[in-house]
Symmetry: C2
Subunit: 454 residues, 2 copies
């Protein structure tokens, strides 16, 4: 084999960084499970017609083809593609297993997804997502929208990463406002307003008057409305006042503001200062039907949203039966890639091992094995030194792998000494009772100062 | 979307069974980490020439093709395929990152693999494997062969599944015996002997005389040799005596028997009664260069091997630099599919949730949320009831999901009662101090009696 090269779009972490992704995934999973979300792993492939949805053909999908496909015969595999998100497989899984599910169905799913994109700098063609969704049968109570936003905020806040800002809006607020203003095609207005960040308020106002027959006053009101947001920790008071000042009223607007207030107030209790209302968030409002949110790392907004989600009234439909949902998705690969690329996190070690048991002599390897077994039975991850080299070399082997402790087997009748190779402290110890301090039991993630680490 | 159907070869677990795979994977991972194996996740795709190896074109591979591939241009993606095992990506990763690895490199890897097979009953086209490997730089000490066999036995023995039998052989034993017997092309003899289980001793003996120019006496000796095995827990004494009785001697045979004895003796210490020496095991001897093993569930031998592995002197090579390895692979999907299909295991619950906090009234949902938050901060997985239905209905919701405890919020000044809905026992409790017994903290796997469960 010639020296292999990385494949553009298929990022892979270096040995020392692999533990970072694992710890992030474990941390997210821990929060999901604390909130009662059950694991789901779906197959990676779906029939292409399921992936394409209603007649769309512009999706970026990888199709599968068997190398050994039989010439001249109809190969059913040609109709299979790799999933590009975890929502399409969830919808299909819910329909396929509706009879075996207890609703509301709560699942988390952490898997790779693929996008058959043209290779270009910085675009991932394979990446891991971590999703949660709550799916109802026919109905799904509003309080689950609050719940999913809080779980998302809690999951990210529990990681040792830069603080997050979650920006929340509600489709009903925007749609109600446009209706109350007298604009007819609220969906089209939403799509236009979504461009405000890119092209600016004046350009969007011009589009609203030209395309959607809005008066200049209506267009200006839309742009001003999108500028309304709450300050972190300030609650909804100023937002409600600013909306009232527009003079626009509509039942849907009122309903949306009540819902948005419930999300903001609940978040202020659970994760103070993390969540703000921001009426400019149009992200996916075309798809979502209620609450919608996106999440940025403070000081790293250029990364884009690392966690987005919201309420959608129709995840799936089977004849008369519809399945509404609310969910969110963490872009694990994007998040971990950014954390590592910007030097924001580091692990204290890349291996699970807490203790390296030294080997005095190859003939006495079994003594070291016995000590290792005793420690492992007590839940402590242990390796035995690969060779009976001089102790200095064995200690360097531990040091290079980030293993904090080295155990030196004693002579007959003595279990030996354990040395913290960071401090140099060495004590006589019994493998049946000694344990590392909890902080050293498993590798952990630490926030780092980018200036220091680079 | 019309009601979807399962895809042949792409198995997917039902909601209640998803937890089983998760618990099996977590259990394997736990053992791997206790032994200091570090996590690795590689990309799912490799260049096709890497997958095909040295000019082979009969591999069952899925190639990728972009749906949006540009007509008439060279699409580099057409040269990408999904990996069919975790060994090829490991070899490529080691070569690509050799400068960043500390050798011996120890990694575990739990990922799906794909086989582009013709669709047929019972063949998986996507399945999860759990691999461990230890890779050396130029050299790799023999004791790692003992180690990997023991980790494999320990990982499987720690799961609540039927007891396993691990059968071990050593390439040097077979090759040394054939050489000592005077047979020249030992590799070809190995391949022929591999057929003994299928076609029987007489047919294999005939092939040896016809194809490999063995004398009838040599052929008979080979067949007798393959019949030598140790009894569980009996050690190597009888095997060594039977080999000595053949009168065949060769340095490689002696070396192989010493190694095989070390594996058997060490296993007898670590996992008594699990491992036997079996000189008929030819599985992969053509590929492996030292220890080789396969593993069956006792009473379920027809499933085939659920965990196989061994020593290979050349995992990868970069010019003059070679990387020997020893590893093993658990077929997670095959194992879990069989355990479920034969009714051998069950989970006590399909969700992580230990406690459902009931809701007295929608207006008092926040009281239930507060209790849930207090319990979660203490590491207890909790859901709040989706609705403020009558308590009987909320209890049934918990029961259907297998949640063992329901918490009833008290009035003002009282935190409420917690009820074990299995026993009906209900006690006043404080969410700041109450905890379920450890056995109820997380879902667990239980061995079941197939007669009872079916």
């Amino acid at each position: 084999m010639t020296r292999p090269r990385p494949l553009s779009g298929f990022p892979e972490l270096r040995p020392g960084d692999q533990a970072v992704e694992q710890i992030v995934v474990d941390g997210l999973r821990r929060t999901f499970e604390l909130h009662g979300f059950a694991p789901l792993r779906t197959r990676s492939v779906e029939p292409v017609d399921v992936l394409l949805g209603k007649g769309e053909t512009d999706k970026e999908i990888y199709l599968l083809r068997r190398l050994q496909a039989d010439e001249g015969t109809t190969d059913t595999d040609s109709a299979l593609g790799l999933h590009f998100d975890l929502t399409v497989p969830l919808a299909r899984y819910v329909l396929e297993n509706a009879g075996h599910l207890t609703f509301p169905y709560r699942r988390y799913q952490i898997q790779p997804v693929w996008r058959g994109e043209r290779p270009q700098e910085g675009r991932y063609r394979e990446f891991v997502q971590a999703d949660i969704d709550i799916v109802g049968d026919g109905v799904l109570a509003f309080h689950h929208e609050v719940e999913v936003a809080l779980v998302a905020a809690e999951a990210l806040s529990s990681l040792p990463i830069p603080p997050i800002r979650m920006r929340v809006n509600n489709r009903k607020v925007a749609e109600g406002f446009y209706s109350g203003l007298g604009l007819a095609d609220t969906g089209a207005v939403l799509r236009t307003m979504d461009k405000v960040d890119k092209v600016g308020g004046d350009a969007v106002a011009a589009m609203l008057t030209e395309i959607h027959a809005a008066t200049p006053a209506q267009a200006a009101a839309c742009v001003r409305f999108a500028g309304i947001s709450s300050a972190p920790g300030a609650g909804m008071e100023a937002v409600l006042a600013a909306v009232a000042q527009t003079g626009v009223e509509h039942p849907l607007l009122s309903e949306g503001l009540v819902e948005l207030t419930r999300v903001v107030d609940a978040a202020e209790q659970a994760v103070p200062g993390v969540l703000v209302a921001d009426l400019s968030i149009a992200r996916g409002l075309d798809y979502y039907t209620g609450t919608v949110f996106e999440t940025h790392l403070l000081g790293h907004e250029s990364l884009g949203s690392v966690c987005s989600g919201g309420r959608y009234d129709e995840l799936a439909r089977d004849g008369e039966r519809s399945f509404p949902g609310v969910g969110m998705s963490v872009g694990v690969s994007r998040l971990v890639g950014a954390l590592l690329g910007r030097g924001l996190v580091a692990t204290d070690r890349a291996v699970p091992t807490a203790v390296l048991v030294a080997v005095v002599d190859e003939d006495r390897r079994s003594e070291s094995d016995t000590i290792a077994t005793t420690l492992r039975r007590r839940g402590i991850p242990v390796e035995v030194s690969p060779s009976a080299a001089k102790f200095g070399k064995q200690i360097r082997h531990a040091d290079r792998r980030g293993i904090p402790y080295v155990w030196f087997p004693g002579g007959s009748g003595s279990a030996g000494d354990v040395k913290d190779i960071r401090s140099g402290e060495q004590v006589a110890a019994d493998p049946g009772t000694w344990a590392p301090p909890p902080v050293d039991t498993a590798p952990a993630l630490h926030a780092t100062n980018p200036e220091e680490s680079s």
